[in-house]
């Protein structure tokens, strides 16, 4: 099973229709001129990329957006219900929202979302802030992993503050039962991301980065020269997950490019699906295991 661990469904037809909301999503995510996509179109794209399932990530930045939630947990649930064989849903809460814990409990217990997405820069927190501890507690209680945005962010109002891989080392040290992913391989700090993964088996990453050149060229630079391909193929092969950050990057070309880096076939299979299954504690036959 091939899984894309990092997809933003903000422009899927079933959760659009309100022009103002769509414009807000374009502006806040800083993704333009792409229109909205029918689910059939998205499935066609997944099929061409050889992807079986996608993890859908919402965005709750409500305390800095007058209470407006960009993509809500309920919208993610709605999309998953429309295609439970193709989608796995994650939750999002704004850590500064006084009802964040209540919303997260609902997301896990009622909406049955499989993990939590957080963006330290856009949501204005540091991974070691005290307000985060009860959120981490809840994730551990429900055995749900976290995907943290890490490295460069192209979203509006988001710098890379609090998004350096080293910002997460104490969390990795302190909570060995908490599985979390430093998204985008922490680009451009890929060596630092590799450093953390080498020491901490609860730290994962994804390949959702394509900031320069073609997918083939960027992946060659990032995964064979910035760090040697052997680092992934020999040491980090159980912690790297295939992700595309769709719609910002290119699902089809990235899926092809990851196979052309000289990794062992067994490593490619880990990256393209088996690591995500382990990260999610996901049972393809019955959902959560």
């Amino acid at each position: 099973m091939v899984i894309d661990i990092h997809v933003h469904p903000a422009f899927f037809d079933p959760i659009n229709g309100d022009e103002k909301k769509e414009e807000l999503r374009h502006n806040e995510l800083n993704i333009h001129k792409n229109g909205t996509a029918s689910l059939q179109h998205f499935f066609n794209k997944m099929n061409c990329a050889g992807i079986d399932m996608c993890v859908l990530l919402p965005e709750d930045y409500s305390t800095s957006m007058q209470g407006e939630v960009l993509v809500s947990n309920k919208e993610i649930r709605k999309l998953v219900d429309l295609a439970p064989d193709r989608f796995i849903g994650f939750a999002s809460v704004d850590p500064h929202d006084p009802s964040a814990l209540e919303k997260l409990e609902e997301a896990f217990a009622v909406l049955d979302l499989k993990g939590l997405k957080l963006h330290p820069a856009r949501q204005h927190f540091h991974p070691d802030d005290k307000i985060m501890e009860p959120i981490y507690d809840l994730c551990e209680k429900y055995d749900r992993p976290i995907i943290f945005h890490c490295g460069l962010s192209f979203e509006a109002h988001a710098t890379s503050k609090n998004c350096h891989p080293l910002d997460f080392e104490q969390l990795a040290e302190r909570r060995e039962k908490l599985r979390f992913s430093l998204a985008h391989f922490g680009w451009p700090w890929c060596r630092e991301t590799a450093m953390l993964m080498l020491k901490y088996p609860n730290v994962y990453t994804d390949t959702g980065a394509l900031y320069f050149d073609s997918a083939r060229e960027f992946y060659e630079q990032t995964f064979t020269r910035d760090i040697p391909a052997t680092w992934i193929d020999r040491s980090l092969r159980h912690q790297v997950m295939f992700g595309t950050d769709d719609p910002r990057f290119e699902m089809i070309r990235m899926s092809k490019a990851i196979e052309e880096l000289g990794f062992r076939q067994s490593t490619v299979e880990l990256i393209k699906g088996r690591n995500a299954i382990e990260f999610l504690h996901y049972d393809p036959e019955g959902g959560k295991r």
Partner: protein
């Protein structure tokens, strides 16, 4: 009189060739215009419109030919972050193939019928799919 009628096409392959002659004929017949000129034009820059025989072998030859002269792994300039899109542009092959194939075709319309050779069909050519596409059927006449 001029009528511009949009026609939606959803492609499901990266490169794909669809014969759309019958769809165009139906739209022209419903337009009410009987004599004049019909233009079929794509609205996109990574798709093409062409006229050729609707044979699978020819579609294969066209696809192989275009892929040979415009390979996926050549070092193109149009592979970088586009700030006004907020996304990476990585479809130079689609743009180049579209330039070669062209973006429209014309047929005379006489007594309500498109006039063309027996081997001529209208091809919609997808070069950056899958995608949701729209073409214009432009009918000029009376």
């Amino acid at each position: 009189m001029i009528k511009v009628i949009p026609m939606d096409i959803m492609t499901d392959q990266y490169n794909q060739y669809l014969i759309i002659t019958e769809d165009v004929r139906k739209i022209v017949a419903a337009s009410g215009i009987r004599n004049g000129m019909v233009t079929v034009e794509t609205r996109h820059t990574t798709t093409g419109i062409s006229v050729n025989e609707p044979l699978e072998c020819l579609q294969s030859d066209v696809d192989v030919f275009l892929s040979r002269i415009i390979p996926e792994d050549a070092p193109y300039s149009h592979c970088h972050m586009l700030r006004d899109y907020g996304s990476t542009g990585g479809n130079p092959t689609g743009h180049l193939k579209a330039m070669i194939v062209g973006n429209h075709c014309h047929f005379p319309l006489i007594d309500g019928k498109l006039i063309g050779g027996s081997a001529q069909d209208i091809w919609f050519c997808e070069f950056d799919g899958p995608s949701q596409r729209t073409i214009n059927i432009i009918i000029e006449g009376e």
